[in-house]
């Protein structure tokens, strides 16, 4: 987000800048300054920077979000097993504590960087940027960022990813999209996981989960699968293959893809103009 091109001006607040202009004097005689900046513009700036790195290195970056224990790491293990020879995969793991998840992924033979956030309940763009310095991005086709297990906070922080994938395991209840609308609105793809347990659960209907997703005005695809048994994993792999191709095409055309749910202005201005970024380090470095 920037405060120069007006990308924060939406239908909801346009009148503020059109009447009166940027400065006005209040009743008390003090100076009132209209700002209209996203509260996370510092994070968004770093996220845009991360995205530039991904695009420069032809990397597709995917942010995996879900509640704890919904099967993100198991899905990654199954994905690496099947697609590890087709694509060069790397993983950034976010957890409050332990290197356990990174170790699981490394056991499958891919590079993994663990971010331990301590008490922070989400990853932010800065943490991801730090982690990128430990990866050889030029040797990566798909970067998975496994966010901290949490259905609330991660939705608010752009990391620089191209797509958001939100997992919902069948043990959680099919009304989760209605309970956590901010998170599920952000999903470019919803994965209903642990489908092998549907046989013993009579209270989860994948169609209902999808129905609740549509209630959020989302047309995101929903795929029901099981990382454990491999059920329907091909649909997820096909989605990934399509996304890799789409990312290549975007990079070739100089287009930038942001995940779902970015303020409308940001979508419109597309970071194509000169942003006068003041980076604190050389932009041409390779993260080696």
């Amino acid at each position: 987000m920037c405060d120069t091109c007006g990308c924060n001006i939406t239908d909801g607040n346009r009148h503020l800048v059109e009447e009166g202009g940027k400065h006005a004097t209040t009743d008390s005689g003090k100076e009132a300054v209209t700002v209209l900046q996203n509260l996370l513009s510092e994070n968004d700036h770093t996220a845009a920077h991360n995205r530039e790195h991904f695009d420069a290195q032809h990397v597709l970056a995917i942010n995996l979000m879900s509640s704890p224990g919904s099967g993100k790491t198991a899905l990654l293990e199954a994905t690496i097993e099947r697609l590890g020879r087709e694509f060069r995969i790397a993983v950034i793991e976010g957890d409050l504590e332990t290197e356990n998840d990174a170790a699981r992924v490394r056991d499958k033979g891919v590079e993994a960087v663990q971010i331990t956030t301590g008490t922070a309940c989400h990853l932010d763009a800065h943490m991801v940027h730090q982690a990128l310095h430990q990866l050889s991005l030029d040797e990566v086709d798909i970067l998975f960022i496994e966010n901290v297990g949490n259905l609330v906070c991660p939705a608010s922080f752009d990391l620089g990813q191209h797509r958001n994938v939100t997992l919902l395991s069948v043990t959680e209840g099919d009304d989760k999209p209605a309970k956590y609308p901010v998170m599920f609105r952000a999903a470019d793809l919803m994965l209903v996981t642990k489908s092998d347990l549907l046989a013993v659960l009579d209270d989860f209907d994948p169609n209902k989960a999808e129905y609740h997703l549509r209630d959020l005005a989302s047309d995101a695809q929903s795929i029901t699968l099981s990382g454990k048994t491999g059920d329907n994993l091909e649909a997820w792999f096909d989605w990934l293959r399509d996304e890799v191709i789409a990312q290549e095409e975007r990079v070739a055309k100089g287009l930038i893809q942001r995940p779902r749910v970015q303020p409308e202005g940001a979508q419109l201005h597309g970071h194509q103009h000169d942003h006068a970024h003041q980076h604190h380090h050389d932009h041409s470095h390779s993260h080696s």
């Binding site: 008390s28 700002v35 996203n38 509260l39 609330v152 608010s156 005005a217």
Partner: protein
């Protein structure tokens, strides 16, 4: 809870604007928060004084404008308010809508005191 992190981002922005405007004091800060932003107005109010300590905004008043959720139907074109987990058209019931308002997480404006009393700063 990420409201403290959001407040810290806010402090950074307030600091930059105050510096640009050569303000000596921030009197009030007005935010626009929509229900779909993922931040809770009440938690922001509680985090604000903590994040403001030692900054130019210490002691400033925090005003939060809670924005309504408004959607525009992509099928019939109707505009109207909607619920946080029911963003469908109130007229024709179609789910294909565009959000007009409701996900704001904006620093709308600042009320500042100019540095006339302390030009050396």
């Amino acid at each position: 809870m990420h409201e403290l992190a959001v407040c810290q981002g806010l402090m950074q922005q307030v600091g930059l604007v105050a510096e640009r405007e050569q303000a000596s004091k921030v009197i009030s800060i007005t935010l626009q928060i929509g229900p779909l932003s993922g931040v809770e107005a009440q938690l922001l109010r509680e985090a604000f004084p903590v994040a403001a300590v030692g900054t130019i905004a210490e002691g400033a008043e925090l005003e939060i404008e809670q924005m309504p959720i408004v959607v525009e139907c992509l099928q019939c074109g109707a505009r109207g308010e909607a619920k946080v987990n029911k963003l469908v058209c109130g007229q024709c019931g179609d789910w294909r809508t565009r959000l007009i308002s409701g996900e704001e997480m904006l620093l709308k404006s600042l009320e500042l005191e100019r540095g006339a009393s302390d030009d050396a700063a």
